[in-house]
Symmetry: C2
Subunit: 345 residues, 2 copies
Amino acid sequence: MAALLDVPPELAAIQSTLADALRRVEGRFNDALRSDLPPVDRLCAHVESYRGKMLRPAVVVLSGLAAGSRDREAPEVSEAHITVGAVCEMIHMATLVHDDVLDDADTRRKGATVNRLHGNEAAVILGDYLFSAAYRLCSTLPGETGRRTALLIGETGMTLCSGELLQLHHRRDYSIDEPTYFEIVERKTASLIAAACRLGAEHAGATDEVAAGLERYGLRLGVAFQIQDDLLDLTGTESVVGKPLRRDVELGKLTLPLIHHLAAASQAQRGRTLGLIGAVPGVEGEREGVQALQAALGETGSIRHAREVAVGLVAEAKAALEVVEESAAKRFLMLMADAVVDRSF
Amino acid sequence: MAALLDVPPELAAIQSTLADALRRVEGRFNDALRSDLPPVDRLCAHVESYRGKMLRPAVVVLSGLAAGSRDREAPEVSEAHITVGAVCEMIHMATLVHDDVLDDADTRRKGATVNRLHGNEAAVILGDYLFSAAYRLCSTLPGETGRRTALLIGETGMTLCSGELLQLHHRRDYSIDEPTYFEIVERKTASLIAAACRLGAEHAGATDEVAAGLERYGLRLGVAFQIQDDLLDLTGTESVVGKPLRRDVELGKLTLPLIHHLAAASQAQRGRTLGLIGAVPGVEGEREGVQALQAALGETGSIRHAREVAVGLVAEAKAALEVVEESAAKRFLMLMADAVVDRSF
């Protein structure tokens, strides 16, 4: 998404530095996946077409620049940052490939998923290949900083999976509360973005305070990002978002607007909504009931509530950057935080 | 399987050292998986019940002792060896959990699989959790040896997955040749056993020559192990092996005896066998045709051929240990190699 931001003229230089770094990340990503077996290479080529916003590599690079550069005109992005960026993107891709199997999804980024084209077996193994490639690439980083990076990446992988398992545990749990929702989202989405920010800072030699500030920025940003995803799933336009919508509801994954609505609604309204989302045994979920669902969410102010929470998190993310010295990279991070809740895809 | 070996009196001491080390590996394994979320912990507890032969930790420990101990009476097994053993076992478990999803298997080690009890989604994510936990644990190993260990473990994960993808690519390929079979098996099964041996040696400060010898031992042993598994799937007794048999055939995975048979058989016999294994469109595979299949394999000497290949690999594995000094641990490794092709489970 960094490449798609509309930036003021004074940030044009940092935007071009970032775009250049992201191209290097792509190269490292593709090199790290290469196999001597053609059937493996073909699957990896498919993963390249999943490439999207590159949010994780972008925050690695920008956190590194913000923590280390002090507003130089043409800051250099280190090899370590490129590697860490590719590692984070690869872990993210591994989870996307497996998520599509779990959700039986046919489309991603307007193209067919790996499971749709090559079957569930290939998709499960390809995800494992991506995880392994990420950890292998991570272990090329030298010294004690390299070891700590690998440790944090491994830990983050565990956190991410535990978030997905917690979500699975609460599937079709129509009484799930907001704290549980945040626990799930912090783990499954925000933990990797937070780790990306921390690692960007650490590889720029940041102090603990600055690294912690950037990590906190990433955590808040990650949760806001997920809430915006949830909102798009409920209110977005399929052709703009690039994948079928209303899947969360279909799959029994309760998102913030719905959790708020079910808690705030009158008993009669709650019953009607449960019927609309197919939660009442024997009552078929109405696929045409999208507008009715949106209207119901509107009545309890639940869409507005979720937007407000996301906007509040973006403010917290930006506040966490107070410990970071002023720089173009820092201003870019602020701009990205705003863009997370403004996006329509 | 090391614990189950019938050893001569002079190896009793090393057997007890090994048994003790494997208990420590179990402890480290369980500690490394622990989560603060009860639904995650419950799934991890299930994985503990998968614990079987612990072949990979056993060769880590024995390779370390053989490379470093010089036949001392009561050699110590280092903390690093316990960690590496747990890492290798965890990677192995991750692949088992995912394999059971891919094969839609209901039973493993005489108990229900994770996918059977908790669903495919939980099993896919649990496998990812195990991969992540393995890499995290691996990254606790300090210094340059630690980094090289993590690199080799990541690389081995990629090799292993590429072997599984190659196998998938050749599913229901009834003209697959022996070199392709060996390529698949070296990758998907033997590579992790070979890495376990090399890492055991490296963490004992072995020379390159000794580490390479032990790695070669592991590679040959691993292929022999897989061929024995293939043979058990075709000729074993379900109650002894502990899982449903003849699954390879059902799933279109061609194993060495069958590959040999299809190449050696007359055209008429080949046609009959393809009918027996359900490879002829429109002809239902006869589940009662096991005896007919075994008879057919017997006629072309294919069971005997596979046994001979496995026995030859065991001899090569033992020969690879020539560069390793004599010791009780080395004699134990020799004994284990023989046991691999003698086992009935």
